[in-house]
Protein backbone atom coordinates (compact mmCIF):
# COMPACT_ATOMS: atom_id res chain seq x y z
CA UNK A 1 0.00 0.00 0.00
CA UNK A 2 2.80 2.44 0.72
CA UNK A 3 4.06 1.55 -2.72
CA UNK A 4 0.92 3.11 -4.25
CA UNK A 5 1.53 6.30 -2.37
CA UNK A 6 5.21 6.39 -3.32
CA UNK A 7 4.35 5.96 -7.00
CA UNK A 8 1.74 8.71 -6.82
CA UNK A 9 4.22 10.97 -5.10
CA UNK A 10 6.71 10.32 -7.87
CA UNK A 11 4.15 11.17 -10.53
CA UNK A 12 3.28 14.45 -8.86
CA UNK A 13 6.93 15.36 -8.30
CA UNK A 14 7.60 14.75 -11.97
CA UNK A 15 4.60 16.80 -13.02
CA UNK A 16 5.66 19.68 -10.78
CA UNK A 17 9.00 19.79 -12.56
CA UNK A 18 7.36 20.46 -15.94
CA UNK A 19 8.02 24.00 -17.14
CA UNK A 20 5.26 26.41 -16.21
CA UNK A 21 3.74 24.12 -13.56
CA UNK A 22 4.21 25.59 -10.09
CA UNK A 23 2.74 22.79 -8.07
CA UNK A 24 0.29 19.94 -8.32
CA UNK A 25 -1.81 17.56 -6.30
CA UNK A 26 -3.67 14.28 -6.53
CA UNK A 27 -6.93 14.47 -4.63
CA UNK A 28 -9.79 12.07 -4.18
CA UNK A 29 -13.04 12.86 -5.90
CA UNK A 30 -14.73 13.22 -2.53
CA UNK A 31 -12.33 15.98 -1.53
CA UNK A 32 -9.53 14.35 0.47
CA UNK A 33 -5.82 14.91 -0.21
CA UNK A 34 -3.77 12.05 -1.55
CA UNK A 35 -0.42 13.69 -2.27
CA UNK A 36 0.79 17.14 -3.30
CA UNK A 37 3.64 19.56 -3.94
CA UNK A 38 1.71 22.64 -2.85
CA UNK A 39 3.80 25.34 -1.16
CA UNK A 40 3.68 26.00 2.57
CA UNK A 41 1.01 28.53 3.34
CA UNK A 42 -1.46 26.78 1.07
CA UNK A 43 -3.68 24.33 2.91
CA UNK A 44 -3.74 21.12 0.86
CA UNK A 45 -6.96 19.94 2.51
CA UNK A 46 -8.77 23.06 1.42
CA UNK A 47 -7.40 22.80 -2.10
CA UNK A 48 -8.54 19.17 -2.20
CA UNK A 49 -12.07 20.05 -1.09
CA UNK A 50 -12.31 22.96 -3.52
CA UNK A 51 -11.00 20.92 -6.44
CA UNK A 52 -13.53 18.20 -5.71
CA UNK A 53 -16.33 20.76 -5.61
CA UNK A 54 -15.24 22.42 -8.85
CA UNK A 55 -14.73 19.23 -10.84
CA UNK A 56 -17.71 17.40 -9.38
CA UNK A 57 -20.03 20.31 -10.07
CA UNK A 58 -18.54 20.87 -13.53
CA UNK A 59 -19.13 17.24 -14.42
CA UNK A 60 -22.75 17.49 -13.36
CA UNK A 61 -23.14 20.76 -15.25
CA UNK A 62 -21.69 19.08 -18.33
CA UNK A 63 -24.37 16.44 -18.12
CA UNK A 64 -27.06 19.07 -17.57
CA UNK A 65 -25.88 20.89 -20.66
CA UNK A 66 -25.72 17.67 -22.67
CA UNK A 67 -22.17 18.48 -23.64
CA UNK A 68 -20.87 14.94 -23.80
CA UNK A 69 -17.91 14.18 -21.61
CA UNK A 70 -16.30 16.55 -19.13
CA UNK A 71 -12.68 17.13 -20.06
CA UNK A 72 -11.22 19.69 -17.66
CA UNK A 73 -11.84 22.79 -15.60
CA UNK A 74 -9.68 25.89 -15.90
CA UNK A 75 -9.81 28.68 -13.35
CA UNK A 76 -8.28 31.85 -14.72
CA UNK A 77 -7.00 34.62 -12.51
CA UNK A 78 -4.65 37.59 -12.69
CA UNK A 79 -1.58 35.73 -11.58
CA UNK A 80 -2.07 32.20 -12.79
CA UNK A 81 -4.39 29.37 -13.65
CA UNK A 82 -5.70 26.39 -11.78
CA UNK A 83 -6.23 23.34 -13.97
CA UNK A 84 -8.09 20.26 -12.86
CA UNK A 85 -9.13 17.05 -14.50
CA UNK A 86 -10.17 13.50 -13.72
CA UNK A 87 -7.58 10.83 -13.02
CA UNK A 88 -9.67 7.70 -13.12
CA UNK A 89 -12.77 6.81 -11.17
CA UNK A 90 -11.43 7.71 -7.77
CA UNK A 91 -9.13 10.66 -8.20
CA UNK A 92 -8.52 14.09 -9.65
CA UNK A 93 -5.40 15.91 -10.70
CA UNK A 94 -4.98 19.63 -10.07
CA UNK A 95 -2.10 21.91 -11.09
CA UNK A 96 -1.20 25.50 -10.50
CA UNK A 97 0.42 27.18 -13.52
CA UNK A 98 2.02 30.51 -14.21
CA UNK A 99 -0.02 33.10 -16.00
CA UNK A 100 1.93 33.05 -19.26
CA UNK A 101 2.11 29.28 -19.38
CA UNK A 102 2.12 27.30 -22.59
CA UNK A 103 -1.17 25.60 -21.90
CA UNK A 104 -0.83 23.09 -24.69
CA UNK A 105 2.29 21.51 -23.20
CA UNK A 106 0.98 21.74 -19.69
CA UNK A 107 -2.26 20.00 -20.58
CA UNK A 108 -0.39 17.22 -22.37
CA UNK A 109 1.77 16.65 -19.30
CA UNK A 110 -1.29 16.66 -17.07
CA UNK A 111 -3.15 14.18 -19.22
CA UNK A 112 -0.18 11.85 -19.14
CA UNK A 113 0.11 12.19 -15.38
CA UNK A 114 -3.63 11.62 -14.98
CA UNK A 115 -3.40 8.35 -16.87
CA UNK A 116 -0.46 7.30 -14.71
CA UNK A 117 -2.43 8.07 -11.56
CA UNK A 118 -5.37 6.09 -12.87
CA UNK A 119 -3.16 3.10 -13.59
CA UNK A 120 -1.39 3.26 -10.23
CA UNK A 121 -4.67 3.34 -8.36
CA UNK A 122 -6.15 0.55 -10.43
CA UNK A 123 -3.08 -1.64 -9.93
CA UNK A 124 -2.98 -0.89 -6.23
CA UNK A 125 -6.58 -1.84 -5.75
CA UNK A 126 -6.28 -5.17 -7.53
Amino acid sequence: MTDVWARLEETIDELSRVTDIKSAAVVRRDGLVVTHTLPDGVDPKMVAAMTAAIVGTSEMATIQLAQGRFVRAIIESDEGKLLSLGAGEEALLVALVYDDANLGLVLLAMERAAKQVETILRDGAG
Binding site: L8, G31, K45, A49, M50, G56, E90
Partner: protein
Protein backbone atom coordinates in the same frame (compact mmCIF):
# COMPACT_ATOMS: atom_id res chain seq x y z
CA UNK B 1 3.16 -14.55 45.73
CA UNK B 2 1.07 -11.41 45.38
CA UNK B 3 3.03 -8.36 44.35
CA UNK B 4 1.35 -5.19 43.26
CA UNK B 5 2.44 -2.08 41.44
CA UNK B 6 3.23 0.97 43.61
CA UNK B 7 0.14 2.38 45.32
CA UNK B 8 0.41 5.67 43.49
CA UNK B 9 -0.60 3.94 40.27
CA UNK B 10 -4.02 4.63 38.79
CA UNK B 11 -6.52 1.78 39.08
CA UNK B 12 -6.95 1.64 35.31
CA UNK B 13 -4.49 1.87 32.44
CA UNK B 14 -5.54 4.63 30.06
CA UNK B 15 -5.02 4.53 26.30
CA UNK B 16 -4.65 8.31 26.31
CA UNK B 17 -7.67 8.78 24.06
CA UNK B 18 -10.44 10.17 26.31
CA UNK B 19 -13.35 8.90 24.27
CA UNK B 20 -11.85 5.38 24.26
CA UNK B 21 -10.94 5.51 27.94
CA UNK B 22 -14.48 6.60 28.75
CA UNK B 23 -15.76 3.58 26.87
CA UNK B 24 -13.43 1.42 28.93
CA UNK B 25 -14.68 3.02 32.14
CA UNK B 26 -11.38 4.77 32.69
CA UNK B 27 -9.01 2.45 30.87
CA UNK B 28 -8.01 -1.19 30.95
CA UNK B 29 -8.49 -2.64 34.44
CA UNK B 30 -5.58 -3.98 36.43
CA UNK B 31 -4.69 -6.75 36.01
CA UNK B 32 -5.64 -7.59 32.45
CA UNK B 33 -4.28 -9.34 29.41
CA UNK B 34 -4.48 -7.71 26.01
CA UNK B 35 -4.03 -9.38 22.65
CA UNK B 36 -3.07 -6.99 19.86
CA UNK B 37 -3.85 -8.81 16.68
CA UNK B 38 -3.18 -7.60 13.14
CA UNK B 39 -2.18 -8.85 9.75
CA UNK B 40 0.48 -6.21 9.31
CA UNK B 41 3.23 -5.50 11.83
CA UNK B 42 2.97 -1.71 11.84
CA UNK B 43 -0.55 -1.38 13.18
CA UNK B 44 -0.32 -3.40 16.36
CA UNK B 45 3.08 -2.03 17.19
CA UNK B 46 1.72 1.52 17.03
CA UNK B 47 -0.91 0.65 19.62
CA UNK B 48 1.64 -1.12 21.80
CA UNK B 49 4.09 1.78 21.65
CA UNK B 50 1.32 4.28 22.31
CA UNK B 51 0.25 2.21 25.30
CA UNK B 52 3.66 2.21 26.99
CA UNK B 53 4.24 5.88 26.31
CA UNK B 54 0.85 6.78 27.77
CA UNK B 55 1.77 4.75 30.82
CA UNK B 56 5.15 6.44 31.13
CA UNK B 57 3.49 9.85 30.77
CA UNK B 58 1.15 8.88 33.59
CA UNK B 59 4.16 8.11 35.77
CA UNK B 60 3.92 4.33 35.50
CA UNK B 61 6.95 2.15 34.96
CA UNK B 62 6.51 0.35 31.64
CA UNK B 63 8.30 -2.70 30.32
CA UNK B 64 8.82 -3.18 26.60
CA UNK B 65 10.13 -6.53 25.38
CA UNK B 66 11.29 -6.02 21.79
CA UNK B 67 12.42 -9.04 19.79
CA UNK B 68 12.98 -7.05 16.61
CA UNK B 69 14.62 -3.74 17.36
CA UNK B 70 17.80 -2.89 19.22
CA UNK B 71 17.00 -0.84 22.37
CA UNK B 72 18.59 2.28 20.92
CA UNK B 73 16.47 2.06 17.80
CA UNK B 74 13.32 1.33 19.77
CA UNK B 75 13.90 4.29 22.09
CA UNK B 76 14.52 6.50 19.09
CA UNK B 77 11.28 5.48 17.45
CA UNK B 78 9.36 5.90 20.67
CA UNK B 79 10.40 9.54 20.80
CA UNK B 80 7.87 10.42 18.13
CA UNK B 81 5.14 9.96 20.73
CA UNK B 82 6.58 12.78 22.80
CA UNK B 83 9.11 12.92 25.58
CA UNK B 84 8.88 10.89 28.77
CA UNK B 85 11.02 10.32 31.82
CA UNK B 86 13.48 7.70 30.52
CA UNK B 87 13.45 5.96 33.88
CA UNK B 88 9.82 5.03 33.29
CA UNK B 89 10.58 3.15 30.10
CA UNK B 90 12.37 -0.14 30.73
CA UNK B 91 13.42 -2.15 27.70
CA UNK B 92 14.20 -5.82 27.79
CA UNK B 93 16.98 -6.29 25.26
CA UNK B 94 16.30 -9.30 23.04
CA UNK B 95 18.44 -8.35 20.05
CA UNK B 96 21.99 -7.85 21.31
CA UNK B 97 22.42 -11.57 21.88
CA UNK B 98 21.02 -12.24 18.39
CA UNK B 99 23.75 -9.99 17.02
CA UNK B 100 26.32 -11.54 19.33
CA UNK B 101 26.91 -8.18 20.97
CA UNK B 102 27.11 -7.35 24.67
CA UNK B 103 24.00 -5.68 26.03
CA UNK B 104 23.97 -2.26 27.66
CA UNK B 105 20.51 -2.73 29.11
CA UNK B 106 19.81 -3.70 32.67
CA UNK B 107 17.59 -6.55 31.46
CA UNK B 108 18.62 -8.70 28.57
CA UNK B 109 17.91 -12.08 27.05
CA UNK B 110 21.23 -13.89 26.68
CA UNK B 111 20.15 -17.00 24.85
CA UNK B 112 17.50 -16.29 22.26
CA UNK B 113 17.21 -19.98 21.45
CA UNK B 114 16.26 -20.91 24.97
CA UNK B 115 12.65 -20.31 25.95
CA UNK B 116 13.39 -20.77 29.63
CA UNK B 117 16.03 -18.06 29.46
CA UNK B 118 13.57 -15.77 27.71
CA UNK B 119 10.96 -16.37 30.38
CA UNK B 120 13.44 -15.81 33.20
CA UNK B 121 14.65 -12.51 31.80
CA UNK B 122 11.14 -11.14 31.44
CA UNK B 123 9.94 -12.37 34.82
CA UNK B 124 13.06 -10.99 36.51
CA UNK B 125 12.47 -7.59 34.97
CA UNK B 126 8.85 -7.69 36.15
CA UNK B 127 9.84 -8.63 39.70
CA UNK B 128 12.47 -5.94 39.96
CA UNK B 129 10.61 -3.06 38.30
CA UNK B 130 6.97 -3.65 39.31
CA UNK B 131 5.75 -2.22 35.97
CA UNK B 132 2.22 -0.94 35.54
CA UNK B 133 2.26 -2.05 31.90
CA UNK B 134 4.12 -4.62 29.84
CA UNK B 135 4.27 -4.98 26.07
CA UNK B 136 5.67 -8.07 24.38
CA UNK B 137 6.64 -7.28 20.76
CA UNK B 138 5.94 -9.79 19.37
CA UNK B 139 4.77 -13.35 19.91
CA UNK B 140 5.09 -14.55 16.32
CA UNK B 141 8.85 -14.17 16.77
CA UNK B 142 8.67 -17.01 19.29
CA UNK B 143 6.13 -18.99 17.26
CA UNK B 144 8.63 -19.01 14.38
CA UNK B 145 11.43 -20.46 16.47
CA UNK B 146 9.86 -22.79 19.01
CA UNK B 147 7.22 -25.51 19.07
CA UNK B 148 3.83 -23.87 19.46
CA UNK B 149 2.92 -25.84 22.59
CA UNK B 150 6.02 -24.48 24.31
CA UNK B 151 5.24 -20.93 23.22
CA UNK B 152 1.66 -21.25 24.41
CA UNK B 153 2.91 -22.50 27.75
CA UNK B 154 5.24 -19.52 28.08
CA UNK B 155 2.36 -17.27 27.06
CA UNK B 156 0.24 -18.61 29.91
CA UNK B 157 3.09 -18.30 32.38
CA UNK B 158 3.65 -14.67 31.51
CA UNK B 159 -0.07 -13.96 31.83
CA UNK B 160 -0.04 -15.58 35.26
CA UNK B 161 3.00 -13.61 36.35
CA UNK B 162 1.41 -10.38 35.16
CA UNK B 163 -1.85 -11.19 36.89
CA UNK B 164 -0.09 -11.84 40.20
CA UNK B 165 1.72 -8.55 39.83
CA UNK B 166 -1.55 -6.72 39.16
CA UNK B 167 -0.24 -5.34 35.91
CA UNK B 168 -1.59 -4.93 32.35
CA UNK B 169 0.25 -7.09 29.82
CA UNK B 170 -0.08 -6.67 26.04
CA UNK B 171 0.91 -9.37 23.60
CA UNK B 172 1.44 -8.34 20.01
CA UNK B 173 0.75 -11.11 17.54
CA UNK B 174 0.51 -11.83 13.83
CA UNK B 175 -0.71 -15.25 12.93
CA UNK B 176 1.23 -17.16 10.29
CA UNK B 177 0.85 -20.76 11.29
CA UNK B 178 -1.85 -21.31 13.84
CA UNK B 179 -5.22 -22.77 13.11
CA UNK B 180 -8.48 -21.16 14.12
CA UNK B 181 -8.86 -23.48 17.09
CA UNK B 182 -5.49 -22.41 18.47
CA UNK B 183 -6.28 -18.75 17.84
CA UNK B 184 -9.47 -19.20 19.81
CA UNK B 185 -7.40 -20.62 22.64
CA UNK B 186 -5.21 -17.52 22.67
CA UNK B 187 -8.25 -15.25 22.54
CA UNK B 188 -9.74 -17.12 25.46
CA UNK B 189 -6.55 -16.51 27.46
CA UNK B 190 -6.96 -12.77 26.92
CA UNK B 191 -9.27 -10.28 28.61
CA UNK B 192 -9.32 -7.89 25.68
CA UNK B 193 -8.59 -8.37 22.00
CA UNK B 194 -7.63 -5.37 19.90
CA UNK B 195 -7.86 -6.05 16.19
CA UNK B 196 -6.62 -3.90 13.36
CA UNK B 197 -7.51 -3.52 9.75
CA UNK B 198 -6.30 -1.34 6.95
CA UNK B 199 -7.88 -0.44 3.63
CA UNK B 200 -6.79 1.50 0.60
CA UNK B 201 -9.29 3.59 -1.31
CA UNK B 202 -8.41 6.04 -4.01
CA UNK B 203 -4.83 6.33 -2.79
CA UNK B 204 -5.69 6.93 0.86
CA UNK B 205 -4.94 4.37 3.54
CA UNK B 206 -7.57 4.08 6.23
CA UNK B 207 -6.54 2.37 9.48
CA UNK B 208 -9.02 1.24 12.05
CA UNK B 209 -9.11 -0.82 15.21
CA UNK B 210 -11.71 -2.62 17.23
CA UNK B 211 -11.63 -3.45 20.93
CA UNK B 212 -13.52 -6.48 22.21
CA UNK B 213 -13.75 -7.64 25.76
CA UNK B 214 -13.70 -11.41 25.83
CA UNK B 215 -16.16 -11.91 28.66
CA UNK B 216 -19.76 -12.35 27.59
CA UNK B 217 -21.68 -9.04 27.54
CA UNK B 218 -18.32 -7.36 27.55
CA UNK B 219 -17.43 -4.14 25.77
CA UNK B 220 -17.39 -4.27 22.00
CA UNK B 221 -16.53 -1.19 19.99
CA UNK B 222 -17.19 -0.64 16.31
CA UNK B 223 -14.26 -0.29 13.92
CA UNK B 224 -12.62 2.95 15.02
CA UNK B 225 -10.60 4.86 12.42
CA UNK B 226 -7.37 6.19 13.85
CA UNK B 227 -4.27 8.04 12.85
CA UNK B 228 -0.93 8.91 14.36
CA UNK B 229 -0.04 12.49 15.25
CA UNK B 230 3.56 13.50 15.86
CA UNK B 231 4.38 13.98 19.53
CA UNK B 232 0.80 13.16 20.46
CA UNK B 233 0.40 9.53 19.49
CA UNK B 234 -2.66 7.54 18.59
CA UNK B 235 -5.68 9.67 17.76
CA UNK B 236 -9.17 8.71 16.75
CA UNK B 237 -9.70 10.16 13.29
CA UNK B 238 -12.96 10.81 11.48
CA UNK B 239 -12.29 11.53 7.82
CA UNK B 240 -15.68 13.14 7.34
CA UNK B 241 -18.29 14.50 9.68
CA UNK B 242 -21.06 16.11 7.66
CA UNK B 243 -22.87 19.13 9.03
CA UNK B 244 -26.17 19.48 7.25
CA UNK B 245 -29.71 20.73 7.73
CA UNK B 246 -32.21 23.23 6.33
CA UNK B 247 -31.31 26.68 5.07
CA UNK B 248 -30.39 29.11 7.83
CA UNK B 249 -30.25 26.52 10.59
CA UNK B 250 -26.72 27.61 11.47
CA UNK B 251 -24.56 24.96 9.81
CA UNK B 252 -21.75 27.29 8.76
CA UNK B 253 -21.75 28.75 12.26
CA UNK B 254 -21.43 25.26 13.72
CA UNK B 255 -18.42 24.53 11.51
CA UNK B 256 -16.81 27.83 12.51
CA UNK B 257 -17.48 27.12 16.17
CA UNK B 258 -15.90 23.66 16.04
CA UNK B 259 -12.82 24.33 13.94
CA UNK B 260 -9.97 26.68 14.74
CA UNK B 261 -9.57 27.42 11.06
CA UNK B 262 -12.39 27.00 8.61
CA UNK B 263 -13.57 28.19 5.22
CA UNK B 264 -17.07 28.91 4.11
CA UNK B 265 -18.03 29.42 0.50
CA UNK B 266 -21.05 31.63 0.83
CA UNK B 267 -22.73 34.42 -1.05
CA UNK B 268 -25.54 36.75 -0.05
CA UNK B 269 -25.99 35.00 3.24
CA UNK B 270 -26.12 31.42 2.03
CA UNK B 271 -23.57 28.66 1.50
CA UNK B 272 -23.21 28.01 -2.23
CA UNK B 273 -20.72 25.16 -2.14
CA UNK B 274 -19.51 23.96 1.25
CA UNK B 275 -17.90 24.77 4.59
CA UNK B 276 -14.78 23.01 5.73
CA UNK B 277 -12.83 22.88 8.95
CA UNK B 278 -10.39 20.57 10.72
CA UNK B 279 -11.25 19.89 14.33
CA UNK B 280 -8.89 18.74 17.06
CA UNK B 281 -10.26 18.00 20.47
CA UNK B 282 -8.64 15.72 23.01
CA UNK B 283 -7.80 12.46 21.35
CA UNK B 284 -10.00 13.10 18.32
CA UNK B 285 -9.32 14.64 14.97
CA UNK B 286 -12.16 15.20 12.51
CA UNK B 287 -12.62 16.76 9.09
CA UNK B 288 -15.89 18.66 9.18
CA UNK B 289 -17.79 19.45 5.99
CA UNK B 290 -20.85 21.68 5.97
CA UNK B 291 -23.35 21.41 3.13
CA UNK B 292 -25.59 24.14 1.76
CA UNK B 293 -29.19 23.99 2.96
CA UNK B 294 -30.98 25.23 -0.13
CA UNK B 295 -32.54 22.58 -2.38
CA UNK B 296 -30.88 23.96 -5.48
CA UNK B 297 -27.49 22.89 -4.10
CA UNK B 298 -28.37 19.29 -3.34
CA UNK B 299 -25.99 18.13 -6.07
CA UNK B 300 -23.19 18.87 -3.60
CA UNK B 301 -24.18 15.79 -1.64
CA UNK B 302 -23.17 13.63 -4.58
CA UNK B 303 -19.65 14.95 -4.18
CA UNK B 304 -19.25 15.20 -0.42
CA UNK B 305 -21.65 12.73 1.10
CA UNK B 306 -19.22 9.84 0.73
CA UNK B 307 -17.31 7.93 3.40
CA UNK B 308 -19.27 9.87 6.00
CA UNK B 309 -18.36 8.85 9.55
CA UNK B 310 -21.28 10.68 11.13
CA UNK B 311 -23.71 13.55 10.71
CA UNK B 312 -24.47 16.61 12.79
CA UNK B 313 -27.98 17.53 11.69
CA UNK B 314 -28.58 21.17 12.51
CA UNK B 315 -32.14 22.45 12.87
CA UNK B 316 -33.40 25.87 13.86
CA UNK B 317 -35.32 25.16 17.07
CA UNK B 318 -37.34 28.33 16.54
CA UNK B 319 -38.55 27.15 13.12
CA UNK B 320 -40.11 23.73 13.71
CA UNK B 321 -41.86 23.92 10.34
CA UNK B 322 -38.52 22.98 8.80
CA UNK B 323 -38.06 19.73 10.67
CA UNK B 324 -39.44 17.71 7.76
CA UNK B 325 -36.87 19.24 5.44
CA UNK B 326 -34.17 18.30 7.96
CA UNK B 327 -35.29 14.68 7.88
CA UNK B 328 -35.25 14.76 4.10
CA UNK B 329 -31.66 15.98 4.08
CA UNK B 330 -30.62 13.12 6.28
CA UNK B 331 -31.90 10.81 3.56
CA UNK B 332 -29.56 12.51 1.13
CA UNK B 333 -26.64 11.29 3.21
CA UNK B 334 -27.70 7.68 3.28
CA UNK B 335 -28.88 5.03 5.72
CA UNK B 336 -27.17 3.64 8.81
CA UNK B 337 -24.88 6.59 9.40
CA UNK B 338 -24.81 7.74 13.03
CA UNK B 339 -26.25 11.20 13.59
CA UNK B 340 -26.92 13.71 16.35
CA UNK B 341 -29.49 16.50 16.11
CA UNK B 342 -28.41 20.01 17.07
CA UNK B 343 -31.40 22.04 18.20
CA UNK B 344 -29.74 25.30 17.32
CA UNK B 345 -30.80 28.85 18.20
CA UNK B 346 -32.21 27.29 21.34
CA UNK B 347 -31.87 30.66 23.05
CA UNK B 348 -34.40 32.34 20.79
CA UNK B 349 -37.97 32.95 21.94
CA UNK B 350 -40.19 30.37 20.35
CA UNK B 351 -37.48 27.73 20.36
CA UNK B 352 -39.07 24.36 21.06
CA UNK B 353 -37.35 22.01 23.51
CA UNK B 354 -35.31 18.95 22.42
CA UNK B 355 -37.94 16.42 23.55
CA UNK B 356 -40.50 18.18 21.38
CA UNK B 357 -38.15 18.12 18.40
CA UNK B 358 -37.48 14.41 18.91
CA UNK B 359 -41.20 13.80 19.08
CA UNK B 360 -42.08 15.82 15.99
CA UNK B 361 -39.29 14.22 13.95
CA UNK B 362 -40.36 10.77 15.16
CA UNK B 363 -36.76 10.00 16.06
CA UNK B 364 -35.63 6.62 17.40
CA UNK B 365 -35.02 6.69 21.15
CA UNK B 366 -31.25 6.53 20.89
CA UNK B 367 -30.81 9.67 18.78
CA UNK B 368 -29.54 12.54 20.93
CA UNK B 369 -31.01 16.02 20.45
CA UNK B 370 -28.63 18.61 21.84
CA UNK B 371 -29.73 22.21 22.45
CA UNK B 372 -27.09 24.54 21.02
CA UNK B 373 -26.38 28.21 20.46
CA UNK B 374 -23.76 27.98 17.74
CA UNK B 375 -23.08 31.72 17.67
CA UNK B 376 -21.91 31.42 21.27
CA UNK B 377 -20.28 28.01 20.83
CA UNK B 378 -22.70 26.49 23.32
CA UNK B 379 -23.39 22.77 23.15
CA UNK B 380 -21.66 22.29 19.82
CA UNK B 381 -18.64 20.46 21.14
CA UNK B 382 -20.82 18.28 23.34
CA UNK B 383 -22.79 17.28 20.26
CA UNK B 384 -19.61 16.32 18.43
CA UNK B 385 -18.36 14.24 21.38
CA UNK B 386 -21.70 12.49 21.55
CA UNK B 387 -21.46 11.70 17.87
CA UNK B 388 -17.92 10.40 18.39
CA UNK B 389 -19.18 8.06 21.09
CA UNK B 390 -21.93 6.80 18.79
CA UNK B 391 -19.47 6.14 15.98
CA UNK B 392 -17.11 4.29 18.31
CA UNK B 393 -19.97 2.27 19.71
CA UNK B 394 -20.62 3.64 23.12
CA UNK B 395 -24.20 4.80 23.00
Amino acid sequence: MMQSPPKTIAPRAKTGIPVLDDRLQGGFPRPSTLLLFSEKPTEKRLFGENFVIQGAKAGEICLYVDFFRAPQLARGELKRFGSVDPAKLVLVDATSSQLLLPSHEKYHIDDIDNLANIREAIVAAMAAEHPGRIVVDSMEFLMDRFPKEDVLRLWRELIEAARSAGTVICFLFINWTLMERELDEIRAMSDFVVEFQSSLRGGIIRNSMRISQMESNGIRTNWIPYTFKDLVGLTVYFPRILVTGPFNAGKSTVVKALAEKSISIDRMGTTVAFDYGNVNITGIEAEIFGTPGQERFEFIFKIFAREVSGVLLVVDASHPDELARARQMLDLVGPRIPYVILANKSDLPGAIPPEEIAHRMKLPDDVPVVPTVATENKGVRDALLMLAEMIIGVR
